[in-house]
Amino acid sequence: MDPVLISLNAISKYFGRKLILKDINLEITPQSTIALLGPNGSGKSTLLKIIAGLAKISAGAVDAAPQLKIAYIPENFPKIDLTPAAFIKSLGLIGGLPPEQVSTGMTRLFETFQMDDMCDVPIKHLSKGTIQKVAVIQALLDTPDVLLLDEPLSGQDSQSQQLFIQMVQELQQQGVATVMSCHERFLVKQLANTAYEISDHQLKPVDLSGIKAIEYDVMIFEAPAKPTLNSELSSLIEKATWDHNRLKLIVSREHSDEVLITLLKDKFKLRTMEGMDQ
């Protein structure tokens, strides 16, 4: 039986009088690859912070193995004045890594994520996707025991997404437990064996077999002068990312025709469309 790294026992969490989480029980072992699903505001990020020991709980108990190394990829990395190189180096040294390991690890990760020419630019001047890469790199600098990911793909290009998925899969093979919150079901398929939905403040198991059957298409459109995204499409689109006048969509294959027809009617122009590599 795998040792328990972190155990949440009957956790409840209130923000003021507002109940966020109620009677949450969860055990994280070295083999855990857990996805937390749910709409915005359901408490996914709060639960991740509770697992990390960063958030105060209103009731229950969190038991963690001693000297546990937890890495955390936040959803919104701040626009700080330091450069990626200065920040990652500082974080590595603060974490007690030898300077040589920090230096080689940084160089490797900056190269892998194609950030070599941006590592000396203040983070506040980088694009959202590049800033998110910094958030990922800081977590991957060292091999943690538990990796917590809060909407890890937000703003990243598809190449970085694939790279990221591959790196997390490698860590999982090394026995790193991962817990991630995400909206993208295609990510759940690739990075999690167990999934829960936070519904009515509680963790409800999700049958992954349904998710695993879904295939996705990636479509990139050029938007018209005054683009409006039909509100009826929101339930069909897995993920929508704007980059100036370009709209990138990830849509389950069963809905892609419908989404395509609607957007073409709304004067969007299709530029590329391809099946998503799984």
Partner: protein
């Protein structure tokens, strides 16, 4: 600790938030020592009092600058919240000592430039040492007071600014208030003991260690209490 200090210094200096209070203090020194001669004790006391306000502003802006996300990432790396918050406050203390040194070095240099006529009497080694200590103590009190109004402890920032202003003004004017409303003494001990320390030198020609012993001890104790309290409150409040 060393790497934490380097990180905090880098983050703070890159933000240029120290520039404004530093320049204001330099301008004050330039203006205050512009007309001579001066009483050593009163000019050093006044400069230390101004440094209290400057460092209260520095402490507040430093606490404002702290980003909760980077704070969380570092806390996970070091697994020791006390060390983290201590390192942040140590940076403030170092800045306070540097500002205190400037507050003493400026008149010393000015005195030499003015052929030793800046002060009403000749400067002694004890004046420099006690003056420097007084500046450091005021910087410590100011920095701890300002940083106490941390965004995670007082979420309403307008209220935090007003409260800090009120506390800083009360710290220096509580003696005058007590002269008019003697009952205010029952609550005025809550405010930093800036008045109590500075009043120990009023009308003195030389720094008197016996007269300053008690207020200085109270000042150090007060600073340590608010320093430890804010660390404990920040550890407990989490995110």
């Amino acid at each position: 600790m060393k790497n934490l200090l380097i990180y905090h210094f880098k983050s703070y200096l890159k933000s240029y938030k120290l520039l404004l209070p530093f320049l204001i203090y330099l301008i004050y020194l330039f203006a205050a020592y512009g007309i001579m001669p001066f009483s050593i004790v009163s000019s050093f006391s006044e400069s230390a009092g101004v440094l209290f306000f400057i460092m209260a502003f520095v402490g507040f802006s430093y606490a404002e600058l702290e980003n909760p996300v980077t704070e969380q990432l570092i806390l996970l790396r070091i697994n020791n919240a006390t060390l983290y918050y201590l390192s942040r406050l140590t940076v403030l203390l170092i800045i306070g000592v540097v500002m205190g040194a400037i507050g003493i070095l400026y008149p010393l240099i000015d005195n030499v430039v003015n052929h030793y006529h800046l002060f009403t009497r000749s400067l002694q080694f004890e004046d420099v040492m006690i003056g420097f200590f007084l500046h450091c103590l005021m910087a410590f009190l100011g920095a701890m007071t300002g940083s106490f109004f941390h965004p995670r402890l007082i979420k309403n920032r307008k209220m935090a600014v007003l409260l800090l202003f009120f506390v800083a003004v009360m710290a220096i004017s509580k003696g005058a208030l007590a002269d008019h409303f003697s009952s205010s003494r029952f609550v005025s001990w809550i405010f930093p003991p800036v008045f109590e320390i500075l009043v120990a030198f009023t009308g003195q020609d030389f720094f008197s260690i016996p007269a300053m012993r008690l207020p200085v001890a109270f000042g150090i104790a007060y600073g340590l209490v608010i320093m430890i309290s804010q660390m404990q409150l920040l550890k407990r409040s989490k995110f």
